[in-house]
């Protein structure tokens, strides 16, 4: 069974200079799409990936990453809406490029679809009351 998931990988500084992504492709047969990368030599690295492949390969690949010390988070956990600050004005809906922030035509409330969020962070500063928060 094929699977496709968006994950956030945190690399400790000792792993930053290793070709880990190459191994995911070569040894685990995974297709990947890099959504965001921040790698600074000698510091922690961060990579947001969409990983697709057979379920078995995906699980083995994740196991490999965990074993070598990569911390894995699912994407939805990273961009969060502070519901106490969101006023549902809707300024974000034209800023979000992936349709993760949409307006309910009936209630005119803003819905946040975490599964569609690619953590591009464009909404964070465009939100007037600053309700969108980054938790990497």
């Amino acid at each position: 069974m094929a699977i496709s998931k968006r994950v956030v990988l945190h690399f400790p500084s000792r792993l930053v200079e290793q070709p880990i992504i190459y191994k995911l492709v070569k040894d685990y047969n995974l297709v990947l799409n890099i959504l965001k990368a921040s790698v600074t030599p000698k510091e922690e690295g961060l990579l947001i990936l969409e990983l697709s492949g057979a379920r078995e390969d995906y699980d083995r690949g994740i196991q490999y990453l965990t074993d070598i010390g990569v911390r894995i988070q699912s994407l939805g956990q990273n961009i969060m809406r502070n519901d106490a600050r969101c006023t549902h004005c809707g300024a974000c809906v034209v800023i979000c490029p992936t349709g993760a922030l949409t307006l309910d035509p009936k209630t005119r409330m803003v819905n946040f679809h975490e599964d569609k969020c690619t953590a591009c962070e464009l909404c964070v500063l465009a939100c007037p009351p600053r309700a969108m928060e980054v938790h990497f």
């Binding site: 006023t87 004005c89 005119r108 409330m109 009351p129 600053r130």
Partner: protein, 406 residues
């Protein structure tokens, strides 16, 4: 059919007043007809919740021992500079004030994370705020420095006094240039990438009383979650603009100056707001009750989004250059559909004004009135209307020659 505010108040006191929101009255009048609806309904409530830069607050912080004359000195609340050019311990903070060391737009677009609006929100939320003062010292006010925490509950007066709020209609902001621009109408993407608007449309107070036949100086309102009053017409009040047959202005027109005791307001309705690349401000919740004194007044309150039109303005060149050129007009019905057509291009829309919050305000005001907690007031003077002959003046610069220095 006519009724007086005194009669309506009598019904409110007895818990018998019939109150509906400006949204509900639309359906009611469609079902029963305007005449019948006007007979039944005593009050229509409105609401709006938007960034409103013309907002600020006065404080009297009390006298320290020994005394300090803040007046004429320099003072800060949480590093945000406040106006001190009044009496000894009175200060004023404006919604758009920002700390002296804020990076502003040095790296464009600046985030403007904290300003006067945020200080007001934090004060209303009951948080301690740092007050720092430097003064010049006098015989009767010897002290030159003061650093202290203050809290809303401990200071003498805290008065929200907004010199321009609740604009009757506003531009729809777009960008025809090739680069993203960062404006008070939000982030506007290039080549008509989006269109941002900023009123609650059919729920907005002044759309429901387009000729100010009931709203005047002294009108009691919902302000920032508490009670406030219309204190004057707001700055840039400009009633004599193009209007539709229903009387509703098709351009920015009237504005309100409003006042109220900050101590009974709530941070849910006074929210510190940051406009990327533009500045800090305050989002304010306002609701105005409209007494149904006649059938005519009720008819005005039945206005709906499809019948209210706003001009589309380019904020990349036309607005900054003070050109009066517009790219067309669209209705709030179209704006709320999520896309509008400009120059044959389908443009996604977004609002800076929260409609769900406007609904909540209109409903809250309705509850207050139905419970008998909120009586209506008779205006002590009308707002200047179309006939007042007001013109919206630009600043025509006159160069100052050297020999005219005093």
């Amino acid at each position: 059919m006519t009724r007086t505010i005194a009669e309506i108040n009598e019904k409110i006191r007895k818990g018998q007043a019939v109150v509906v929101t400006a949204e509900e009255v639309i359906d009611l009048a469609e079902k029963k007809g305007v005449a019948k609806a006007a007979q039944e309904v005593d009050v229509v409530t409105t609401g709006t919740f938007s960034p409103m830069c013309g907002s600020g607050a006065f404080f009297n912080v009390g006298h320290s021992k020994p005394r300090i004359k803040i007046g004429g000195g320099r003072a800060y609340l949480n590093d945000v500079p406040v106006y001190t050019g009044i009496a000894a311990v009175d200060i004023f903070i404006g919604a758009t004030a920002i700390p002296d060391d804020d990076p502003r737009n040095r790296v464009h677009p600046g985030p403007f994370n904290y300003g006067g609006g945020h200080v007001i929100e934090e004060l209303v939320a009951g948080r301690d705020i740092r007050l720092e003062v430097t003064a010049y010292g006098t015989d009767c006010y010897p002290r030159k420095r003061l650093q202290t925490w203050i809290n809303l509950k401990d200071i003498n007066e805290a008065v929200l006094f907004n010199i321009r709020n609740a604009y009757q209609n506003y531009n729809v902001g777009v960008n025809v240039s090739d680069n993203t621009i960062y404006t008070y109408m939000g982030v506007l993407k290039p080549n008509l990438g989006n269109a941002n608007y900023s009123t609650a449309g059919q729920l907005s107070p002044l759309f429901n009383d387009p000729y100010y036949k009931t709203i005047g100086i002294g009108t009691k309102i919902f302000l920032g979650g508490g009670i406030g009053y219309v204190s004057w017409h707001g700055t840039q009040h400009n009633p004599d603009v193009l209007r539709s047959d229903n009387g509703v202005p098709r351009r920015g027109a009237a504005t309100l100056a409003v006042i109220g005791d900050l101590k009974q307001m709530s941070p849910r309705w006074l929210v510190g707001t940051s406009m990327l690349g533009y500045g800090a401000t305050l989002s304010v919740g306002i609701g105005v009750p409209i007494p149904i004194l006649s059938e005519e007044i009720l008819r005005y309150t039945t206005v709906k989004d499809e019948e209210i039109f706003a001009p589309v303005v380019d904020y990349s060149e036309a607005y900054p250059g003070r050109s009066s050129e517009i790219l067309g007009e669209v209705s709030y019905g179209e704006l709320k559909s999520g896309k509008i057509l400009i120059q044959e291009k389908e443009v996604p829309t977004a609002s800076l004004s929260s409609y769900p919050r406007a609904v909540e305000i209109a409903n809250t005001l309705k509850e207050w009135i139905m419970k008998g907690e909120f009586l209506l007031t008779e205006p002590v003077a009308p707002l200047p209307g179309v006939e007042a002959g007001i013109t919206f003046k630009p600043l025509n610069e006159r160069p100052i020659e050297d020999n005219r220095r005093i």
